[in-house]
Amino acid sequence: MSVLDQIYLRAKENPRKVAFPEALNEKMMQAAYETGKEGYIIPVLVGNGNEIREAARERGYDEGVFTIVDITEEEYKKTLIDKYVALPQTILKEKALNRRMQNPLYYAMVMQAVDEADVTFAGIDNTTGDVLLAGQMIIGLKEGISTVSSIGLCDIPGFQGSEGSLLAIGDSAVCTNPDANQLADIAISACDTVKALLEWEPRCAMVSYSTLGSGQGELIDKVVEAVKLANEKRPDLAIDGEFQFDAAISPAVAEKKVNRESQVAGKANVVIWPDLNVGNVGVKLIQQFGHADAYGPMLQGFNKVVCDCSRGAPVSEIKGNIVISAVRAAGSN
């Protein structure tokens, strides 16, 4: 059974409420409908109720599959605002929130913040920047985390790592040039993400062009400092480095290059790149030469699961990402 099959199975066992603020979009509505009808999620469509109902009818969907939340309905909106502003550490006050909630993206995230939804799934009409801003304003970042980042899950044919053909990698998409503190946060968030999604015990390697001091220079210093900070912040996690990529994932190379005890060297299931140049090139190499399927990017660092899909994504990919985000939300609870 493939990893995606396993994730689909887990989603069905415990379907979560996924809020769709771009429900009128044809591809998004189709993906929401199919994942809902197939029992993976409970789709909550957020927007103008009449327009959503009309579009669903025109497209031949059974309205009973959806929960429709009409953002023009004042009473429910007021209930949400009251609950939201009562939460600790929210940054928008009632008046500003009321205005922002005219936008379904913000409305959906407020629902999520007050536990009326488990996930907000967007990105087909809104830009990544829109989704990240709304997420930071409404959902906020996890305690102690300073940056939003992402990981991807690679299924690499022929690779025999510590999780079979699977390897989680990050950040290949969001945080361009992290400082040591942000890099530490990316590693910590990545460990939490794979725990929630895959129930793995994370072994996280922070990679560079040096293994434990074999090279020197400021590019390496950043990674060394990040490992130290990550271990100080979360001593419960196995985060280690700096390692070269081969020393991180190959037991034979680790045996030669890593001359001390390590829970991670040679058996990493999470690899953290030093910056986005490496991350983006790295994922393309894995895809092009390794013929891997790469799932994601999955946003991380938020208090709750926020998902930004690619604007060019086909319905099949959107469905996969919806189910992945729902399972992450279930695993986070």
Partner: protein, 79 residues
């Protein structure tokens, strides 16, 4: 609102968002060089401006301001 009053208000909001002493800030303070900080702090600042001054700024525009004075100019333009 008088310019001077607006400057004082913005400096106080920057002080809260970036956790710096307001007395150490002026309109010449540079966001990147003097304050450092991650984008989350700019998000907090933009939200605070929206709460207190009822002005909705684009994050990209606010992030493009080099100094606190530039941010005050931007807010004035939106008021």
């Amino acid at each position: 609102m008088e310019r001077k009053e607006l400057e004082t208000q913005v400096i106080n909001m920057v002080s809260t968002s970036y956790k710096k002493d307001a007395a150490s800030l002026s309109t010449a303070t540079l966001f990147k060089e003097d304050l450092g900080g991650a984008s989350i702090q700019m998000v907090a600042l933009v939200s605070e401006i929206e709460n207190e001054l009822d002005v909705e700024l684009m994050l990209a525009d606010a992030s493009g301001c080099a100094t606190i004075g530039d941010l005050v100019d931007l807010i004035e333009g939106e008021m």
